[in-house]
């Protein structure tokens, strides 16, 4: 049932750029292999070759002892190799069942056999633990559910080797646990799993061995049980990541609240949310997917309707109806959806960087030269690595795109900056840069809000953490309460109140 794979001297070039420099290693059947590497290390390209989306320039791919050169993903799929993309490959307007059988439709005579497809899809949905009717439109699913549909689709194609590229990037803690349980079941069935992630704690807990790639080359492989997180990080980066998080500097006790929100209610999402962020403070926002963190801030920005709530910036009540109003008052929000809401990936770097300040800088004509100079400054200041400053944003790696997005959202010099999942899909090196930057922002006296699904990040970065569950504020945890256990228990609403002051928020939110 399992499948063995061997890469021999795989080289891949895109035009003049060589991204894989002779990769050599084998995947043993029936194991969970963690593939580690910074963005740009070549992991995704190698896996695309394995799954038939790309062809190697030279070198051999051997599957079950036979050399293969897949013309397309369908040929790889026929051998049982399936790749679950970072960005899903689902047709949003079609139903789950239609997606699962896309390209492999069941027919009765000339007509589609919808009933059979729906029934069979239900079986796969059950296998992946998704309790949704197969005739639901994919557009109506949340991200975690779409992920499960992707896996169900792979199972329906009788996958024997499953490649998962950053599968937990947008999953909450609970959903992540379910995914790992599913991976364990698949492994027990003999499915080989290649697992790509930047989350080293997950690597540590759920893989049998790790394979490390760096700069388009295979570096080493090691049994997971012999390798700890820090060693993995060092192997990936090729240097010692002594400290991911800079030391915390707490804002002075009398620092003024720069953003104060009271009684925010967003129909369908948020019920009477109160919080404040002081100058120089980093406030984390924890919660499961669907807890309403992103929605709360979108409502503050006027991107969704709010039915109640008072917003004060710098001590003055403000009326914000659009991101533009928010920016005028010194509040910027960088979305978690970098490609959909954060950056114009088809436009150039300069255009992206200056997008929010065009009107301020135009006099009245745009000064392209000044824009270029600003880009040069930003490239240095934010440590953006690139080949060609004239390229489109899409050709940057995830980490560099994120740095560009940060530069863009900071150009208007906001007093309050809200960063939604600031390190999603970002490699370890860039992560550390971003953490340092966030600290600097707070050090400059700005109020910083960080929404994140990575608990370690929230704990390592934040001065305080607000925990949402089901649209209600469960609690705000102070520095002495920031542990994974406490965060998870509040986020899942399973916290047993021990201290009276802990109980206060939980109780008032529930009743």
């Amino acid at each position: 049932m399992s499948l063995s794979v061997r890469f021999t001297q795989i080289v891949k070039e895109f035009g003049p750029v060589r991204v894989l420099h002779g990769v050599d290693f084998a995947l043993e059947p029936g194991r969970v292999v963690g593939l580690l590497g910074e963005n740009g290390a070549g992991k995704s390209t190698l896996m695309k070759i394995l799954a038939g989306y790309e062809r190697p320039t030279t070198g051999q791919l051997v599957v079950d002892g036979v050399e293969r050169r897949f013309a397309d993903a369908r040929e790889a799929e026929a051998l049982g190799i399936a790749l679950i993309h970072q960005e899903f490959n689902l047709a949003e307007h079609l139903t789950i069942a239609q997606n699962i059988f896309l390209g492999h439709e069941k027919t009765r005579g000339l007509l589609l056999d919808r009933k059979a497809m729906s029934q069979e899809a239900a079986v796969y949905l059950e296998q992946v633990g998704l309790d949704v009717h197969p005739d639901t439109r994919v557009a109506d699913l949340i991200v975690a559910e779409k992920q499960l549909v992707e896996i169900a689709k792979a199972l329906s194609r009788k996958a024997r080797l499953l490649i998962m590229d950053e599968p937990t990037a947008s999953l909450s803690a609970g959903e992540t646990r379910k995914l790992f349980a599913l991976m364990a079941r698949l492994k027990a069935d003999g499915v080989t799993i290649v697992y790509i992630s930047h989350k080293l704690d997950e690597m540590e807990a759920h893989t049998d061995e790790v394979v490390v790639m760096r700069d388009g080359k295979f570096v080493t492989r090691a049994l997971t049980r012999d390798t700890d997180r820090r060693q993995m990080a060092n192997l990936m980066v090729g240097r010692d990541v002594s400290d991911m998080f800079p030391p915390k500097r707490y804002a002075p006790a009398d620092a003024p609240a720069l953003l104060k929100v009271s009684g925010l209610t967003v129909p369908g999402w948020i019920e009477a949310l109160d919080f404040e962020v002081r100058a120089g403070e980093i406030l984390g926002f924890a919660g499961l997917v669907g807890a309403g963190r992103t929605e709360a801030f979108e409502a503050i920005l006027g991107l969704r309707p709010r039915s109640a709530g008072r917003i004060e910036i710098g001590g003055k009540p403000v009326d914000i109806r659009s991101p533009r109003d928010a920016m005028r008052h010194g509040l910027n929000y960088l979305s978690e959806d970098r490609k959909g809401k954060g950056l114009h990936v088809d436009l150039g770097l300069r255009e992206n960087l200056t997008m929010m300040t065009l009107e301020r800088d135009a006099r009245p004509w745009l000064d392209i030269k000044a824009g270029r100079a600003a880009l040069t400054t930003a490239i240095t200041d934010f440590g953006i690595r690139l080949r060609d400053p004239e390229c489109a944003a899409r050709s940057l790696s995830g980490g560099n795109q994120q740095k560009l997005a940060l530069a863009k959202y900071l150009r208007s010099d906001p007093r309050v900056i809200v960063l939604d999942e600031p390190t999603r899909g970002v490699d370890v090196g860039a992560k550390r840069d971003i953490y340092t930057l966030i600290h600097r922002l707070a050090g400059e006296g700005r109020a910083v809000v960080v929404i994140s699904s990575e608990l370690i990040e929230l704990i390592g970065l934040s001065h305080r953490v607000a925990v949402l569950h089901g649209g209600r504020l469960q609690t705000v945890l102070g520095p002495d309460q920031l542990t994974e256990d406490i965060l998870i228990s509040h986020a899942t609403n399973t916290h047993e109140p021990i201290h009276a002051h802990d109980a206060h928020d939980t109780q008032s939110a529930r009743h």
């Binding site: 809401k341 300040t357 600003a374 440590g383 840069d433």
Partner: protein, 344 residues
Amino acid sequence: MNQSTPTTPTTPNQPGTEAAPARPLLARLKGIGPVVALVLLCIAGGLLNPDFATVDNLMNVLTRTAFIGIIAVGMTFVIVSGGIDLSVGSMAALIAGAMIVAMNALATGASPPGPVTIVLLGVALALAFGAVFGVVHGLLITHGKIEPFIVTLGTLGIFRAVLTWLSDGGALTLDFNLAESYSPVYYQSVLGVPIPVWVFALVAVAGAVILNRTAYGQHVQAIGSNEQVARYAAIRVDRTKVATYLLLGVCVAIATVLYVPRLGSATPTTGILWELEAIAAVVVGGTSLKGGAGRILGTVIGAILLSVIGNILNLTSIISVHLNAAVQGVVIITVAYLQRGRRQ
């Protein structure tokens, strides 16, 4: 350029430019396709008929291009922003009709003002109509949340039907004396160049400057590239979109102001298929119908290219002039084919 923005997370690897590869020749030639096609066509035209390569003929072609060209400049903004306007031909007809009716009424009223004043009032009225129609389109699309295709398909019918009703199915003809004082706007030349060509050039230059050198123009491109990203980046998406339709409406009005003195009348067939010619010029010029990026210069060349085809067919006898639209169609498809690789 506020550089009090935060600085320098310590960077592990040297940031910045890593050996920028030489830009491939093809990439640098990008967008030059229509120019090459135009040059080749002109050479072919000159070889086939010596009359083609004369200043007179050139000016003739450019004058005829002016109407569609001016509309196409406005259309470029709408298409780059991700929209479309199917109504421009009907809108031109209705503006022409309304203009003629109003000017005739002024001329035959009690104590009429001088013909020049009447013409100026007519021009002002035309521009106002164009602006209002554009704003109505924009508001229906943004606040009404209706697809631009549907909105302008609707007004395409409405505008033309109103004109047909105004003209009672026949022609609305400008008062003879007014036509006399208005006709130089189409027929007169300044420094050897006909007025419509001057206006076309002015509109094109203004359009290029606005699209590439103003915040508004960048916002139009940003919205067409990804509306959500633009919204999150504090851009006034709705207002910007309305402004593109307003701009197009004004362009249609300007084209109409130049067109009316040519024949001095408006009929139910005035401006028929102008929308498709304008859209074709934009697309041939290298602007993607999906929006996001476009070039005014490309549009100008596209418009000229399409009318040069007709002109060459008129001057030579190799292909029947009745096949004009067919040749244009082949050119449109060929250009789109050659550009398809760049839209990745």
